[in-house]
């Protein structure tokens, strides 16, 4: 059986790539993709931990997370479309109407 640390390490790496993507990339769609990557890293961790501990909770949570991520994609992409219609850009740095 593959040791749990392999799964946790992979999950941590995926999560870190996601965080870095949100921090570095300026295209809102790519930032959103990176967030999805973070959620999937979490799913991997839940499944691995659930299997390791022989508990069903970790497996069930993943279904909730997938569902929520789908709902989040619907709302998020709708907002991105609304922004693009008004501003013709999805670059986070150009969204600067609101400043103090």
């Amino acid at each position: 059986m593959t040791p749990i640390s392999y799964f946790m390490a992979l999950s941590a790496i995926l999560f870190a790539i996601g965080v870095a993507g949100v921090m570095i990339r300026r295209n809102v769609i790519v930032m959103f993709l990176s967030i999805e990557l973070m959620l999937n890293a979490v799913n991997l961790a839940f499944v691995a931990l659930g299997r390791r501990m022989g508990s069903m909770d970790g497996q069930v949570i993943v279904f909730f997370v997938i569902t929520v991520a789908a709902a989040e994609a619907a709302v998020g992409l709708a907002l991105i479309v609304a922004v693009f219609r008004n501003r013709e850009t999805v670059n986070a740095d150009e969204l600067n109407l609101l400043r103090w």
Binding site: L49, D57, G58, V60, I61, F64, V83, L98
Partner: protein, 500 residues
């Protein structure tokens, strides 16, 4: 593998009846919606108000029940009931102040009121959750609806921009919260709050996985309550959103986020409070300082109230830093109660000032309000004084209880910082009062409030709440303390539920 058996799930309907009522009401609004004109959507608001009334009555029945439902995923204790009632009242006031605003602006009424109800449903779920995954679901139900509401003025670039910033950072923080939940699950072997507490109290879970999970969950909740340095979205989302939605974000989201935050950290993670209270000490200090200092230079009233909301999150986290002290939890609940009424009132006045398709949200727009509309100006002055912490209003009494609870826990220096901050905040709150009463010029004419009775009623309710909660704090304070105590007493409830 553990076998999952249905008989182990103890179904108790009472705790979720208010939630079912809210969901059914929201669906009714969506079903009736297409028959209603967007220019005349007040009827849908009335359906929403009726739904909230039903949920309110049903919630009253859950007091002193201490039921567990759905195999311990939900708990119906006084803590949940207290927050549910507060959320329902705040939502009702917000629906009331939206009635004219939504039809005047020609916003889609069906979607608006349905999203408000769904969002309130998520908030109530968060307050009643006894399971980390239910907290996550409640948080997302609330947030997804709020993201859509924040961007509700589809053709307004500011509304778009505030919503997208809120969405990206909100979803980002959700990732941290979930990863934190996963690691706490890995460290303790469970996602149920009470078993987590029991495992931590037994001292068999103090490892790096737990500490990392704690930190990530702190980041996730920190975003939602708008704590520095996770506050960047707050002013933009508050300024861009339609004003009633801003009020909903400042009051409802803050209350619900603290309901979840407090239950997870102060109750469930209470046994390891030594590991996180130091971090909260620092976050509370920088949150109130940065919130207050940045509020000083704002010209926009919604932005100023956003920074004020950040500063208030700092004061509330002062209570969390004092976690092991029992008094701090009750004081925080009382503070949230006063904060809710005061902020609802302030935003209602901002709505009253706006004219059809013309936002008047600069602080200078308040100039001369006292001469043309003395009643409205007096109400606004009252709310500003309460936020600044002037006795005998709700804001002062809340700060008094909170600061003395923190002093009792020995956080002398943090209370000194908080008191200094409180003094700084007087400057920007009184600036609004000075604009209204002392500055020349800028005669404001607004539509008379008599033509907008629902808005008038919501301002009157907020004024009454701000004064009553401050003048007669005793009943509210004792019910707040009892509510918090019921959450801490959870081990006893778990035992009786197991016997049943």
């Amino acid at each position: 593998m553990n076998q999952f058996t249905l008989s182990a799930v103890h179904f108790a309907w009472l705790p979720i009846l208010p939630l079912i009522a809210m969901a059914l009401g929201a669906m009714t609004v969506m079903l009736v919606g297409p028959q209603v004109d967007d220019d005349d959507s007040a009827g849908l608001g009335v359906i929403a108000l009726l739904t909230l009334l039903i949920a309110f009555v049903l919630t009253l029945f859950t007091f002193s029940q201490n039921h567990l439902a759905f195999g311990g995923a939900l708990v119906a204790d006084d803590y949940a009931a207290f927050f549910d009632l507060l959320i329902i009242i705040a939502t009702a006031v917000i629906v009331a102040m939206s009635l004219d605003y939504v039809s005047d602006e020609g916003l889609a009424g069906a979607e608006y009121y349905a999203l408000i109800l769904f969002s309130a449903l998520g908030m109530m779920l968060m307050a009643a959750a006894d399971d980390l995954i239910i907290i996550f679901l409640g948080l997302e139900t609330m947030s997804l609806a709020i993201y859509a509401l924040a961007g509700f003025m589809r053709r307004d670039p500011k509304s778009n921009e505030g919503a997208i910033k809120y969405f990206i950072l909100g979803a980002f923080s959700t990732g941290f919260l979930l990863y934190g939940i996963a690691l706490v699950y890995g460290a303790t072997g469970t996602i149920k709050l009470e078993p987590i507490r029991a495992a931590l109290a037994a001292g068999n879970a103090s490892n790096p996985l737990l500490l990392l999970g704690l930190g990530l969950m702190l980041i996730g909740f920190g975003f939602k309550v708008a704590a520095v340095p996770f506050h960047m979205w707050t002013p933009d989302a508050y300024q861009g959103a339609p004003t009633p939605v801003t009020a909903f974000m400042a009051v409802g989201v803050k209350i619900a986020a603290f309901a979840g935050f407090m239950r997870v950290f102060m109750v469930s993670l209470g046994p390891v409070s030594a590991e996180w209270s130091g971090v909260l000490w620092v976050i509370a200090a920088i949150t109130m300082t940065i919130g207050n200092l940045t509020a000083l230079v704002q010209d926009n009233i919604k932005r100023m109230l956003a920074y004020s909301a950040i500063a208030n999150a700092g004061y509330l986290m002062l209570g969390m830093a004092a976690a092991p002290a029992r008094a701090a939890g009750g004081a925080m609940l009382y503070y949230l109660l006063g904060y809710a009424f005061t902020n609802l009132g302030a935003f209602a006045v901002v709505i009253a000032l706006a004219r059809r398709s013309e936002t008047r949200d600069r602080i200078s727009d308040f100039r001369g309000l006292a001469r043309t509309h003395p009643g409205l100006a007096a109400a606004m002055a009252l709310f500003m004084l309460s936020l600044a912490g002037v006795p005998p209003l709700a804001g002062f009494v809340g700060k008094f209880y909170l600061f003395s609870a923190a002093l009792g826990a020995g956080l002398v220096w943090l209370v000194v910082i908080a008191a200094l901050n409180s003094a700084i905040s007087v400057y920007y709150y009184t600036r609004v009062i000075v604009e209204m009463y002392a500055r020349e010029g800028g005669e404001v004419t607004i539509e008379p409030l008599g033509a907008r009775p629902a808005l008038l009623i919501s301002i009157v309710v907020a004024v009454a709440g701000t004064i009553l909660i401050g003048l007669y704090p005793q009943p509210y304070m004792s019910s707040a303390a009892a509510a918090y105590a019921s959450a801490v007493r959870r081990p006893a409830i778990a035992a009786t539920a197991a016997l049943r």
